[in-house]
């Protein structure tokens, strides 16, 4: 039943003769969640950019033909004086109002007609640069959902977001995975996320340190190889978490 949608073999990336990534090998099946972890500067974002074809690389990156890929960048630096509203931003992706409303409803905004005024006033007609970190993140996710992608690439979806916002974004991820059988590749610093949501994990430190199911490959020695020194990580699933069905 598992259908392979991405194959990566011997991926190698260098910038100005400095190796940034080497020996990267993994596969991704439809409906899976793959987490990418590693310290700062380990090449996580570079891996994404190579997968998206944004930078030159050698080796093989083979997506299944005709696949639609959505990408949520880690952040968007928006000049405060840029007069672009959320509505205008989303319309850059699709001019259809239905697409736009579907996408913002999928990320948790209320699109009920009774709440129309609130939605228009506080979200759609606001400038992108005036959004909070969490709101911007949700809008970026909504952007990536327009056009119904088969795969989503998330670059640290919770960077710079408070706990409440973080929770909603993970709930959302979970929902996308459950309801839409979406395949997701996610860069995360949060090992809880990896244990709770990922089928597979890839650990990077320029080289590929591990690849496999989180519970079997994330041993303390792997983590110390990855992050250096004595990393202590206590894995616990919150009893009140609504994602214990994993």
């Amino acid at each position: 039943m598992s259908q392979k949608i991405l194959e990566v073999e011997d991926l190698f990336v260098s910038f100005d003769n400095t190796k940034v990534l080497e020996n990267i090998n993994f596969n991704l099946n439809k409906g899976e969640v793959l987490a990418v972890i590693g310290p700062n500067g380990s090449g996580k974002t570079v891996l994404f950019r190579a997968l998206l074809g944004l930078i030159p690389y050698s080796g093989k990156v083979k997506w299944k033909d005709g696949l639609k890929i959505g990408y949520v960048p880690q952040k968007l630096l928006i000049d405060r004086s840029l007069p672009l509203t959320v509505r205008e931003f989303l319309k850059l992706r699709s001019s259809s109002k239905t697409d736009m409303l579907q996408a913002i409803s999928a990320v948790g905004f209320d699109i009920e007609p009774a709440r129309q005024h609130h939605l228009e006033h506080h979200i759609l007609n606001r400038r992108m640069s005036f959004l909070s970190g969490g709101e911007l993140q949700k809008i970026l996710i909504a952007w990536s959902l327009i056009g119904d992608p088969d795969v989503l690439l998330f670059d640290e979806p919770t960077a710079g977001i408070d706990i409440g916002g973080e929770q909603t974004i993970y709930n959302l991820l979970h929902e996308l995975q459950d309801k839409r059988q979406m395949t997701i590749i996610i860069i995360s610093h949060d090992l809880n996320v990896v244990y709770q949501y990922a089928n597979n994990v890839i650990c990077l430190n320029k080289n590929q340190v591990c690849f496999g199911e989180p519970h079997s490959v994330l041993k303390p020695e792997d983590l110390s190889a990855l992050y250096g020194g004595e990393t202590k990580f206590y894995h616990h699933i919150h009893p009140d978490s609504n994602s214990t069905d994993l």
Partner: protein, 256 residues
């Protein structure tokens, strides 16, 4: 006051040219190309000079040298890591040097500061047609250009081809400069694309509002500038720039 001496053709040119340069200029400012546009306008000078020497329409000469300059900049940009800005700096000074050497001295002032009072029917027709072309093409390019400005990565993953869009955009800049130098001259053409845009930024709360307000401010500046210059018997170019600057300072009071 004698409005009669204001040529009807001049006003028609001014309306269209002002609208197109303000509209296009709003995208140049968005891309942080405010000074690039200004400097690039000087690349037109050798072309204007050739037109004057060999008595063909200087607008065509201007477009030819601008086109050559833009292709040159674009090519070097693809091959090296030098920024557009630094390359424009190179082309601009070389062109200005050549232009000053080439332009016959009696015409130099006109080439530098423009003289819309000498607008012919052909000039007007060209200004109207090209202004409409600029607005139309720019509207088509706008999504890709805005997206590429916010995030080149998002743009590429959404299927935008930044190199192609940048090239077409630079062509539009060349076109607006070529038709604009007749009225405000090479030295002041930069003002006509930059000032309406930054004034509009002060008062606009959406992208569409910003683009069109900039067009309207461009239209008002050029038309009012020409009328005022005519009343007081002054050179229009500098008056147009001053009018747009006054509008800019007024918009500061209504900042959003």
């Amino acid at each position: 006051m004698n409005f009669n001496s204001i040529n009807f053709l001049q006003l028609i040119s001014a309306l269209f040219l002002g609208l197109a340069s303000g509209y296009l200029g709003s995208f140049m400012v968005l891309r942080r190309m405010a000074l690039v546009g200004d400097a690039l306008s000087h690349v037109a000078l050798p072309g204007v000079a050739l037109g004057l020497i060999f008595s063909f329409n200087p607008m065509f000469g201007a477009f030819a040298t601008l086109f050559a300059g833009i292709v040159g900049i674009w090519l070097i940009e693809q091959k090296t890591d030098l920024s557009t800005e630094s390359l424009v700096g190179l082309f601009f000074t070389v062109a200005l040097a050549l232009g000053v050497l080439l332009t016959p001295e009696p015409e130099l002032l006109e080439a530098l500061f423009g003289d819309i009072s000498r607008t012919s029917t052909t000039d007007t027709l060209l200004a109207v047609i090209f202004s409409l072309v600029i607005i139309f093409v720019m509207r088509k390019l706008s999504s890709g250009l805005i997206l590429g400005t916010i995030s080149p990565d998002l743009a590429k993953t959404a299927g935008v081809k930044p190199a192609r869009i940048n090239f077409l955009f630079m062509l539009l800049v060349a076109l607006i400069v070529a038709i604009g130098i007749k009225s405000v001259g090479t030295l002041l053409m930069g003002a006509l694309v930059v000032i309406p845009a930054i004034a509009s930024k002060n008062i606009s709360s959406s992208m569409a509002g910003y683009n069109w307000n900039s067009g309207i401010i461009g239209l008002l500046s050029l038309t009012a500038g020409i009328i005022i210059a005519n009343i007081f018997g002054l050179v229009p170019g500098p008056i147009v720039v001053l009018v747009s600057a006054v509008i800019f300072f007024v918009t500061l009071a209504f900042r959003k």
